[in-house]
């Protein structure tokens, strides 16, 4: 893990300001710290957004829900409204990761997590996603966990989120 400047944001505006110029936001950190330890990702600045007020789940006027980016996977899966009215979302969350990870991982982070392609994680291998232009070692490698649909000659990675699948099925939208 490369050294970085650690900044704790106390407002959304401040976070955006601090993040200018190559910083990474950190929320749960369950994917980012994993990748930083392997130096697959090496941000120069880490902006900790955990103390921002984005962890609410609110009813919307049209009968939906507005889910804050910092709502943890556990809190979203356990929300009584989600369990009652959108159970596929709870089910998808509970099918993934572990109790410990769901307690840290956030809704925003879950959507933004990187692929689990073994070659993306291996710095000794070529990977267009990690280093564009280097090639894709997965094409001729061990790839039974990777995509068979929607691939290209440049990448056969999958997005690892179970939650995202449920969100798509429910027609969820990302909003500012």
């Amino acid at each position: 893990m490369r050294a970085f400047d650690y900044v704790r944001a106390d407002s959304a505006e401040g976070a955006v300001r601090d993040a200018a110029g190559g910083a990474a936001f950190i929320a749960g950190g369950t994917n980012l710290i994993d990748l930083m330890k392997l130096e697959v990702m090496s941000p120069e600045t880490l902006v900790d957004i955990n103390r921002l007020a984005m962890n609410g789940i609110e009813d919307t006027a049209d009968g939906g829900l507005r889910i804050g980016a910092l709502v943890t996977n556990s809190d979203l899966a356990n929300d009584s409204r989600v369990r009652r009215n959108w159970p596929v979302l709870s089910r998808a969350l509970l099918a993934g990761a572990s109790g410990q990870l769901r307690n840290k991982a956030t809704t925003g982070g879950n959507l933004l997590q990187r692929t689990r392609c073994l070659y993306f994680y291996d710095r000794a291998s070529a990977c267009n996603k990690r280093e564009p232009g280097t090639g894709c070692a997965a094409q001729e490698g061990f790839n039974r966990i990777l995509a068979v649909l929607g691939t290209s000659e440049h990448c056969i990675a999958t997005h690892p989120s179970d939650m995202a699948v449920a969100m798509r099925a429910l027609g969820a939208e990302g909003r500012r």
Partner: protein, 168 residues
Amino acid sequence: METNLEINGTRHRLDIDPRTTLLDALRHHLGLTGSKKGCDHGQCGACTVIVNGRRINSCLTLACMHDGDEVTTIEGIGQPDNLSALQAAFVQEDGFQCGYCTPGQICSATAMLEEVRNGWPSHVTDDIASGAELTDAEISERMSGNLCRCAAYPNIVEAIRKAAEKSA
């Protein structure tokens, strides 16, 4: 960088590299080696601690992100001559062999039982709209973030069920 942690009821002030994980802060800087490093990537659960009431992988979070947080480690759950009900049940049911995953299992189970009390569903809960009974299948599913290569799983389930029944 300066970080304050309330660990097992005692306040600790640390001045550490921001790269230091919560796990390494405990093990390298505070001499609290009860929390184990099995994979360092959130895959095995041996490093499980309870932060502000919730179980997390301490290897996958930075100590500096927890300034002011309350951390409970295995050292805060019980001591050899003062075991918690879960710890005693793990000894009686042989819920471990090599013992390396055990502190993580016990921290995880301690918080897991609280999750069940709070009505959290799991992947194996039939009706997720209501709460869950503490069946063997529920215990196994909820404890699957804690790997045990010695494979004491049946005994771990037995220990957790017995400890939960005792305290119920």
